[in-house]
């Protein structure tokens, strides 16, 4: 397992990382073919986002006439002006999503690190029992309906942000990743020697184990933050009060069905040409762009941690 956290050797490098000529490389011809194949597919993964940006910058009337087009005959920033002028709903939803993501991620980290640390300690005599308690949930679950009843009839948390936070705050998968991380980067001897020096189990955990486990914590934190940012399912189940500010993804779902969001802000329409009408389609797309932009800008930088988590989680599954 340990090799997962060591930089993998690049092709064309030997054991000491020296570059050498690779006699086994594919020929330039096949290289071009492979590049075209993989490149086209990679482009197809990025293209829809670029396309949505172009649509959001299209003039609404042109859009109605020409349909979605990569290079519309008339551009317009009306959609963005509209969103920013009447942007209360969007801003509030951003706020809800941000709060859910931050609180949820912190809660996840607290739950996951404590639980997995105990499971990683060989001296923990109840390790078997608590491992089973966690991992059995991967094999069997009560399903959607009993979970829904627990949330609404037992905890009474519908229409609160806790209904969006709590269901996602722990999973057996993240415990596996974190436990494996503790096992491979924090040898028992480190903890034992800290205890000989007089540190208690808590002291050892908080001041020795956690600081050296930051990469693992980053992995779990990012998994969790992404899960919260992208979640709409819990809002779909537990948010049924129209006055409740929806999280971002759920707002996008709602405006897909109807544009109440826009008519609610009808007083701002004075700035827009009445004949041109409400820029509905372009506003939708502008909001999709604004909701997606943070992820598109950030993920290339934290991708590495995801890959780390994926490889650990899948191999140790």
């Amino acid at each position: 397992m340990a090799q997962t956290f060591i930089k993998p050797r690049e092709a064309g490098e030997d054991r000491r990382g020296r570059k050498k000529r690779d006699y086994n490389a594919i020929t330039p011809f096949w290289n071009v073919i492979f590049n075209i194949g993989v490149g086209l597919f990679a482009f197809s993964c990025v293209f829809p986002f670029l396309f949505v940006i172009m649509i959001s910058l299209t003039d609404e009337q042109t859009l109605a006439l020409e349909g979605f087009s990569l290079w519309p005959s008339e551009f317009s920033t009306a959609a963005y002006r509209y969103v920013f002028q009447s942007g209360n709903e969007l801003l509030l939803s951003f706020g809800v999503t941000l709060a859910v993501t931050v609180i949820g991620t912190l809660l996840t980290l607290a739950l996951v690190t404590t639980y997995s640390y105990a499971l990683s300690r060989r001296s923990f005599e109840f390790r078997g029992f608590f491992s089973f308690l966690a991992f059995f949930t991967m094999l069997f679950s009560g399903g959607m309906v009993p979970g829904y009843i627990v949330m609404t009839q037992f905890l009474h948390l519908q229409n609160t942000i806790w209904a969006l936070i709590l269901p996602l705050s722990l999973s057996a998968f993240s415990i596996i990743v974190m436990r494996t991380f503790f096992q491979t980067t924090v040898p028992d001897e480190v903890v034992e020697s800290a205890k000989i020096d007089g540190a208690g189990e808590f002291r050892a955990f908080f001041s020795i184990v956690l600081p050296i486990s930051l990469p693992g914590i980053a992995t779990i934190g990012l998994f969790s933050a992404l899960g919260y940012w992208n979640d709409w399912f819990n809002a779909l189940l537990y948010y049924n009060n129209p006055d409740q500010t929806p999280p971002l993804q759920f707002l996008l779902m709602q405006i897909e069905k109807n544009m109440d969001f826009l008519t609610k802000n009808a007083q701002y329409l004075g700035n827009f040409d009445a004949a041109a009408g409400l820029p509905t389609e372009t506003v939708r797309m502008a909001m999709v762009v604004l909701a997606t932009l943070p992820i598109v800008l950030a993920y290339p930088f934290f991708q590495r941690y995801f890959i780390q988590g994926l490889t650990v989680g899948s191999v140790k599954g």
């Binding site: 490389a25 105990a118 966690a134 009993p146 009843i149 709409w232 991708q303």
Partner: protein, 309 residues
């Protein structure tokens, strides 16, 4: 008893650390498991709270299951769930391994990184966003596909009410979204393969294709098996977002887009039929459990080391 008590005292610090997580598992995983008894009851909300509601609801035996399996729904959702999953497991495995091998062979490693980053993007986006993306292609009046059809002088297609095209659309989008994620796992495994195998093979005159066939693929086999077992264990579950968001919950498409998860959701939210949708959920969980235990057992018989437990 005192020995047990002593054991607790001895482990008190670590027990305290697992306490918050244990509480979470009890409330959000084990309490719902207890709640599956509702599949055998006629759920009535009691003013005395959750436990009273569950316990006081009247036993109806297998009525909910009878009701579920008497309609044609049970057959359709089971068929859809299994067929989509089987197709996705096979196509997903083949394409993930293929892309991982292609990426690992590219001469320019920097370009490989760029492609990989691009392929990873859809994995980071929610199904809500992806469904907007799909709409830019499938919109009946503005979408790209219908523009193309018109340009070619063909009839427009009303995509969101034509079930015939959806199996293909769902499979394509499902694999497209996940391939960045799954190919990365295989790519990591390929990078970890000892290069001396390939050197030895080159000396013996093995060509690229033979090296892939006789070195790379066999060495990836354990990983493929593990991931496939996990996938087979989940063959009764499906990605709710794919089947709910992408077709925009369009009723005309239900025959080809309704899977167990969406069926349970609609049973709960649209019909409010607690008993029947709990029964459908329990049916899903139980078959899933049996499947994962069986596949694991079979793999264990064939090759002990590759079983998960």
């Amino acid at each position: 008893m005192t020995a047990f008590w002593k054991k607790i005292v001895r482990n008190r610090a670590l027990l305290l650390l697992v306490l918050p997580g244990t509480v979470w598992f009890l409330i959000f995983a084990y309490l719902p498991m207890f709640g599956t008894v509702l599949a055998f009851k006629d759920f009535r909300i009691s003013p005395d709270g959750f436990f009273a509601s569950v316990l006081n609801s009247e036993w109806v035996g297998f009525k909910n299951f009878e009701y579920l399996f008497r309609t044609s729904d049970a057959y359709i959702i089971t068929r859809n769930t299994i067929l989509y999953n089987v197709a996705m497991i096979i196509l997903g495995l083949v394409s993930a391994v293929a892309f991982a091998i292609l990426l690992s062979e590219l001469l320019n490693k920097r370009m490989a990184k760029v492609y990989q980053t691009g392929m990873f993007l859809p994995h980071f986006l929610s199904w809500v966003i992806i469904s907007y993306f799909a709409f830019t292609f499938l919109s009946p009046d503005k979408g790209v596909l219908n523009q193309l059809l018109t340009a070619l002088g063909m009839e427009r297609i009303s995509w969101y009410s034509e079930p015939a095209y959806w199996p293909l659309i769902l499979l394509f989008v499902g694999i497209w979204k996940g391939i960045g994620y799954s190919s990365v796992i295989y790519l990591a495994a390929i990078t970890g393969i000892d290069k001396s195998y390939y050197e030895a093979a080159t000396i013996d005159g093995a060509r690229k294709w033979q090296q892939i066939r006789y070195i790379t693929l066999p060495l990836l086999r354990p990983l493929m098996i593990i991931l496939t077992i996990l996938a087979i264990g989940g063959i009764f579950r499906s990605d709710f977002g794919l089947f709910y968001q992408l077709p925009k919950d369009s009723g005309a498409l239900y025959p080809v887009t309704n899977v167990i998860d969406t069926f349970v959701y609609r049973g709960l939210m649209n019909m409010g039929d607690i008993g029947m949708s709990t029964a459908a959920g329990l049916y899903q969980s139980l078959v899933g459990l049996i499947l994962i235990l069986t596949t694991n057992y079979i793999v264990r018989r064939i090759d002990r080391d590759q079983a998960i437990f």
